[in-house]
């Protein structure tokens, strides 16, 4: 039973990681295409979509936050790992373990804060480009922080069973 569940969970995670990767590829590709279209429209046809710039900037925001969650998965966040380099292996393992736990907590709080933010925006009801409500595009904050919290949480749990968490895989 346990084996079955763990395989099931693993399958879901793998599916999600693949989905995330392709979402990023499509998002970036679409963004490049759209940006190019805007330039062509502006310079050759003296026209363009008024909300185009807003869309591009939000696209970059989405990519950045999804990229940051991806960086959490691949342990590629920018950090100062001075102590783990000088401490003995056992100590730096514990430091690493604690870092995962604290990062998990901070991301949970950020998730909560961004959830409240989005709720507030939903009630305010402003619309962004192409009459999409602003809170839809702002949903990336709670989504991103939830993914990051989960990933830090996973690293922490795998630290419990003795695997390195924050260090490079």
């Amino acid at each position: 039973m346990a084996v079955f569940i763990s395989r099931y969970v693993k399958g879901i995670i793998q599916f999600f990681e693949k989905l995330e990767k392709w979402l990023l590829v499509i998002l970036l590709g679409a963004l490049v295409g759209f940006a190019l279209l805007q330039i062509i429209l502006r310079n050759f046809f003296s026209t363009g979509l008024v909300w185009g710039d807003d869309l591009l900037r939000h696209g970059v925001l989405w990519i950045s936050i999804l990229g940051a969650s991806r960086a959490t998965l691949e342990k590629k966040h920018i950090r100062i790992d001075l102590l783990p380099k000088v401490l003995p292996a056992r100590m730096s393992f514990i430091a690493d373990f604690l870092c995962c736990f604290l990062s998990f907590l901070v991301c949970v709080v950020l998730f909560w804060a961004s959830w409240n933010f989005v709720q507030g925006e939903r009630l305010a009801g402003h619309t962004a480009f192409a009459s999409i409500p602003y809170w839809w595009v702002e949903l990336i904050f709670p989504i991103g922080f939830a993914i990051m919290a989960l990933r830090f949480g996973f690293s922490f749990v795998s630290g419990l069973v003795g695997k390195p968490g924050m260090m490079e895989r």
């Binding site: 900037r57 925001l61 990229g67 001075l82 102590l83 870092c99 604290l102 950020l110 904050f141």
Partner: protein, 420 residues
Amino acid sequence: MKTALFTLLAILMAFSGAPLFVVISAAALFCFYLIGVDISIVVIEMYRLAANPLLIALLFFAFAGYVLAESGAGQRLVKLSTAIFGCVRGGLAVVALLSCAFFTALTGASGITIVALGGLLLPALLKERYPENFSLGLLTSSGSLGLLFPPSLPMIIYGVVAGVSIPKLFLAGLIPGIFLLALLVGYSVYRGVRGECRIITFDRQELLQTSRETIWEILLPVVVFGGIYSGFLAVSEAAVVTLVYVLVVALAINRDVKLHQMPSTIGKTVIMVGSIIIILGASLALNSFLIDQQIPNRVLLWIQSHVHSKFFFLIILNVFLLLVGCILDVYSALVIVAPLVIPVAQGYDLNLLHLGIIFLTNLQIGYSTPPIGMNLFIASLRFDKSIIRLGVASLPFLGILLVALLVITYVPALSLLLVR
């Protein structure tokens, strides 16, 4: 008491390797919580990221850089500059410096230069009998050499944080960058001549052929700057055009990057950009707290009461930035430290463009200094040499960079000549 305990914990966390964005976010959350403001403000401040068109430029330039790094552009550049400079004494060292600077400017000083060009240049230098330590030091410190040349990504980040015009910043970096490069070239030629290193015979045919192969990369600066300085394109649009140009050249003309490599290239780009921008977001939140509490003003008053002359302030600034550069990488250093330093520097009547160049020069030096100079680690992996040995080998180059730093700091005209 609470604050002291938290600060201690945050510093401990930062140095034990917690992601910096987590530490900064935690600080922002804690600060706002302490003064009784709803902590959603942290996310609201982060959302200001979506108001900045320069981040579009950052993303597209970074992507273009990664595509270039995957393509054979580095090898072609080395081949071309060897055909031009290989025939003079010390020429190969010049080749190394110039191609590293060019490549770093395009790929954004994220260690790619050492990985992509180092393995190519080290054996070539050794073959022409350059001393091993000299060659190792040269390549290690060249890994961040192009920071002052457009379209360097750290420059764009400084522009975002300081709110200065990117086209002007690009111009401001040009002369200091050339000056720095010239000093290093001078030293390398001196070593090459004294060491009686071998030279390569000049081959006209070879030069013609390599120029033809490299023509698309040679035209790249025209694409980057043509749009910006002719006034046709904004910086973010120039980045799009550059990216499309690089993609077309790599995928369709030279065909040295395959379409199926794109997902992994995009993956790398997105991770790098995401990990920089999330730190930027977190520090937007922390800085809005600091400004709200007038912390930068208080720092300025405190420093002004102790430091009276601009001359002395600049020394302190440089020492401080060198220390920062030793601990933080260039992006987090800019994002975290620049907002605090900028108001202080303005108090001493320092031009923000000039300050940017001082910042970048310092941080570039920090790349090659222990304990966490990124160049040292990457070079150590790439060349399979100990970090200590590489550190020692880079010392002469660091010395030259420090001299250049002094000149750049105390001769503002160097940075401001082209801007006025």
